[in-house]
Symmetry: D2
Subunit: 343 residues, 4 copies
């Protein structure tokens, strides 16, 4: 930690900081330049809590040197985490595509979609049973009935299921049906929910909050690892910017950034990331080329009748076309999509 | 609702949309321009759900005409909502300042602060017992012990208490101690939490999410009103932008914007809104001049020892100076701060 | 400057950096912590150019300690700059309101507006002769004819004129008519234009770019001071964010921030800052309460017929109402608006 | 154009709008719903200028239906524009990589780089002679000397040259040396500069402004086409967001978005788009997979000694590795990089 003092800080003021730092077990290095005095403090990062030195009027700024996360960091855990779900491995050479409707709406809809996406090469079925919706008047999901339909579709197709949990009271319920628990973008910093899913034995897909920095996102994952669940995958789904031609701005640079800073797998959601089905295939291609370990994509047999997100859903034929292009890109990087890991 | 069709949409495609709209009870107006065909649809806003016409390839865009909220809207409820808490009224001519530490840390700290802010003219005591923290390693609050200390401070000073509820399992607990429940910025779209606080008889202060638009914020309030609790006040606390000299960008234009569109009171938080105590007083002044119905301000007797947010906390003497300036601005608008409503 | 090395940097790598720093005249302090090695470098800020140490693979990050600006900084020039234009002083106890139409459209329009705003207490006349417009098909201004009309209006009313210069070939021309040269938001980093206006003896109003940080804005002003013109005032006019109820997000926290970091006056533009005339008066009030040294406001006798920005223009009666409210706020801070400085 | 009236607009107010619209040659359709009255106006888009109906107090909002651009639009010009520079074609099946240093610093540096990038498969040489720099104290480029060195490097290697023009007085000078003129991000809305480059016969690469929407970017291109120069390529180089791990947020969704809305080629700049050389190759791969027609990449033989942007520059060996990966991705889409178009 570097503490930069304001021009004109007195000896007594400098001493006060030094005393507090030494008391907290830090080693101190003082540099007095012509214009600024700087204190370098080396010590245990856990002691930094409770030191809010920027509140002192003679401190100009405090620059942290160590990253505030640890368990999610590649420095701490150099080799890639590979998450196993049955025979499937996320984070290895196989790239997984999770596909399905935004919301589970009916047995017919989810079965039709599940078969279609499986045939095209998807290896997980996605579908929302509990839907966080901006308006109280919008369709909020079939709830447990939706979970049952997802389980039924898994039974029929063999596709493991990923679905969102939005309420910490439902974690056990959702975990009893789902193979992967999704934490949605709006809940990325719902810390008590993170603590609850940390207690389950299900892998967690942690979506990036629409205004979350890379560091905040990694710290949210740190909550889950710190809570005892090591199987976390990140999901980039776009951030909120001034551009509104797209629903969000899909920030693919997070894929290589996360692969540099962390050992956890990275999934990309081009459906929410763009909000327009016409842009989904190109951005899915780009995600694979950027090194993503998987995709999560909305597919609906009749998008114009979807109860949510029809505008960004692919039809099964469009999904199929996309998948075969993706396979060819994956091969450039010696990875594979269509083998599916479980067939 | 206006549906703009792509150049070259066929008669059959136009007919398909018309049929669906008529089936949903809409009246249709068709305008065929030289370059674009436009369909105007007039009907019941609740039937719009389940129509995702932008998913149709021949639809260019859909422009909603009606606002998606209703209960929070001034069109629906023209006169100002005034929220009564004991003898205090929020939303009337009295401006209320809620002050206290970011976190309740100890009996000494909260008592010392409560007396200091009361003396300076604050009419509510703020303090966090449950703290949502970006890092799992940061101080997470005293929890119920903190609530008890807040209640004790109310006992001693007569100041009603506002505190945040972060977990929907704690709503009843927090409501049993607090006079106003605060929904924090990160929970603005934690819809199930909104539904829970809607069931209490406590007024709710709804902070704006760091990347929430005005419309999303109003819809979050709509959840609470729709759930049965009419006593909601908005709290502008800054949005996330590229500027990082300040912790957030305090968007004071929301004060007059909300007063135009809604009947609910508007509070401003210049502490989180700037993240620097030096900017708190000028922005508090600006908030009152923009028409805010109240402020929520962080005050700590020893900011440099605070367990959270010391950098943005005022000392009691600085708070006192600010309050007397604020009173003079309030008078320009025939409002008052220091009378306090309950003394 | 602090250089943080990656975990595992070798002795030779550390030496290479030290050698380069010493060669550039820096004094070096080395801190080897358990997890990170840190190099502190103290020296002449002008030698930092040409050192791009973050390009070295074993450097994690470089943290600058000194601000990159100097002439605009309050550390360098502690007392407030007061800019004199005839008998008017910008940056002193008198607050100046610059008012007029977005574009000069005709003699009738500019004369009618000039008289109206003067009567209401404005002390400068604003009006655009050269208009930077997003679309090539939009009205681009009356150009020199517009300048002549502004000069004529000054003749009649005694109000000095502020107008924008957009093309560096026109600087001399515009300076021959105008009392203050405005650099528009889109040109804040048009550095050659900044260098040209630096050569004139006219005060410069430098608008903030829609995505400019505080530091970039101060550096743009530094170009003008460094070029020989000390009379620069900042103008906050809103930044671009995700919120689009307002045209821009008016960032009033820049007013006290600039007053802390710089000695130059700060003007606020609530018209572009909000884009809605209904929000102009409340935000003008807020700007004064935040400490602004002046305002620039769009007024048009017939906003619905304006060739640009009618939506955000006040009518003369609305302007007059606003001015008397502003005067009362200014008095709270022992400042004055209506005395006008020159009457 | 759709005009939505406020609840309670009177007959006379509706009539006033209708009269003005009819006077401007529009055909009118009136829809009176239960809650809102809506006026649809069909007519010539060029007559919309000078109608600022949102300034009327009884108008709630005006929704434009037609895009404000025309010449850049694919509706207007359905087939792809292919720009020919000697034997090279931009916008066809050949993908072009433009590479070189941020700034031309010396003969040795530019020659060494030019040979290296050519050998690796680049087909254009980039290099800055006039540098817009945030600080007045930063290296501003070698100016005409830099142009001469670029021309010399072209002579030796056969690589055509792309370089930025920042001052409209230099357009002729730069055009006399360069094969493609680059408009930098900060100048995207320097409209007079756009008008000047429109008069040359050189192709223009138009970088996206850091806070420019897709529509504003297309309108900036419209200025150049409208000014007589049809050979414009877009260059996505990242937008400014809250995320600051990366220098900018590279918005690759603009590649397929522009290919949908416009006929002009799209180039991607992963160097400025990320600001970190470690992210350049993955994002270059992603750009090609998203459909980009070319890349512009910073390469410097000794990035740690670069006078600008060393942190984001590739070394020649890293560039070479990247190029062979790119070639394999291009082939997936039946495009080619290494053939170079001119060998």
């Amino acid at each position: 930690m570097i503490i930069v003092l304001k021009h004109g800080a007195s000896e007594a003021e400098i001493q006060e900081i030094n005393d507090r730092l030494i008391q907290e077990g830090f080693k101190i290095h003082l540099s007095e330049g012509v214009e600024k005095t700087i204190i370098g403090a080396v010590g245990d990062r856990s002691r930094l809590e409770g030191l809010d030195l920027e509140a002192l009027p003679w401190v100009e700024k405090v620059v942290p040197i160590l990253a505030p996360y640890k368990l999610v960091s590649r420095e701490f855990h150099p080799s890639d985490t590979v998450i196993k779900i049955g025979e499937r491995e996320i984070g290895g050479s196989q790239i997984h595509v999770m596909a399905g409707p935004c919301s589970v709406e009916s047995r017919t809809q989810i079965m039709e979609t599940a078969h279609a996406v499986k045939e095209a090469g998807a290896t997980f079925l996605r579908g929302g049973a509990f839907k966080p919706r901006t308006s109280p008047y919008a369709f909020q999901g079939l709830e447990e009935e939706g979970l049952k339909l997802l389980a039924e579709a898994r039974e029929e197709t063999g596709l493991p299921v990923i679905t969102e949990v939005v309420d910490l009271r439902d974690v056990e319920l959702v975990a009893s049906y789902a193979d992967i628990l999704q934490i949605g973008a709006r809940n990325m910093q719902n810390f008590n929910l993170l603590k609850e899913v940390a207690k389950t034995d299900r892998p967690i897909m942690l979506k990036r909050g629409p205004s979350a920095t890379l560091e905040e996102w990694m710290l949210a994952a740190e909550y889950i690892l710190d809570g005892g669940n090591p199987n976390v995958m990140f999901c980039e789904r776009g951030i909120r910017t001034f551009e509104n031609y797209t629903r969000n701005t899909l920030d693919l640079s997070m894929v290589p950034a996360l692969h540099t800073l962390s050992h956890l797998p990275v999934i990309v959601d081009p459906s929410h990331g763009t909000g327009r089905w016409q842009l989904v295939a190109p951005m899915a291609q780009a995600a694979i080329a950027a090194g993503a370990d998987g995709l999560i994509v909305e597919v609906h047999p009749h998008p114009e009748k979807a109860l949510s997100d029809g505008k960004q859903s692919l039809t099964p034929p469009n999904f199929q076309t996309m998948m075969s292009d993706l396979e060819r890109i994956a091969k450039v990087f010696d990875r594979s999509i269509l083998k599916g890991g479980a067939q």
